[in-house]
């Protein structure tokens, strides 16, 4: 394959990773009041862990850059204790009327959402720049 826009693979991987982060944040916000997760306990906040990876090491292609790209290593649970809310009418309330709610702070999630979307935007700017660099290079021959 001819490498027209070099470095785009890494940016594409970063866009993938940020998209996963956005997905996880949306999952957190959606489950902000879920008192029954898959294991029956209150939902625990999920956090994405990124890691670097050599993009071309696997495919064996040596053309293009061998710079490390980003990928999602794992999606971890946030182990902070659940929030205790007094709500005696809730079916999940204990004898004292306290309900264990997920350890999710909506404001924290919104801040993470902005951070993720700004990072996504920055990577899109890289793509745009690489494209305009290629187009400017192709216009050398024009007169």
């Amino acid at each position: 394959m001819i490498q027209i826009l070099t470095g785009i693979q890494n940016t594409s991987a970063a866009l993938d990773a940020e998209r996963t982060r956005l997905d996880v944040i949306s999952q957190n916000i959606a489950n902000a009041h879920t008192t029954h997760d898959l294991d029956g306990k209150p939902y625990q906040r999920r956090v994405v862990v990124f890691e670097t990876a050599l993009q071309n090491a696997m495919s064996g292609e040596s053309n293009g850059s061998n710079l490390p790209a980003i990928q999602v290593a794992k999606i971890e649970r946030d182990n902070r204790p659940p929030l205790q809310v007094y709500d005696p009418g809730n079916p999940d309330a204990d004898p004292h009327g306290m309900v264990s709610m997920p350890n999710i702070n909506i404001h924290e999630e919104m801040a993470d959402l902005i951070s993720a979307s700004r990072t996504f935007e920055a990577n899109l700017a890289v793509v745009k720049n690489a494209r305009s660099m290629a187009m400017q290079t192709l216009s050398i021959g024009k007169h």
Binding site: I2, I4, L5, I8, S12, D16, L138
Partner: protein, 115 residues
Amino acid sequence: MLPLSSIPSVSANLFQQIDRLPGNTSDVGAIPSALPAATPTDSSSFSSLLGKLVSEVNAQQQVAGQNVNALQSGANVPLHQAVISMEEASVSFQLMVQVRNKLLESYQEIMRMQM
């Protein structure tokens, strides 16, 4: 995205005809043999290089088309990947057009030459 599947065969044919044009270096016997003569059957001849470029561009167009199709049919293809492959296809198409322009330009330059 328009599939350019028919271009490689057409262009290969065209480039072979260009190679066979009267006045091509392969037909001029007067050129000293010290010069490296490019024979049309050589695997690294210009026409085969161009044909390779065209088929690469075609492959990228097809990849972009497949990505967009997969995206529209609901497969798990991220939006940015489809758009990036479209951009790659577009830029490599521009490269091919530029090469073609240069080729035509030099051909016309030679045709204008005073004998």
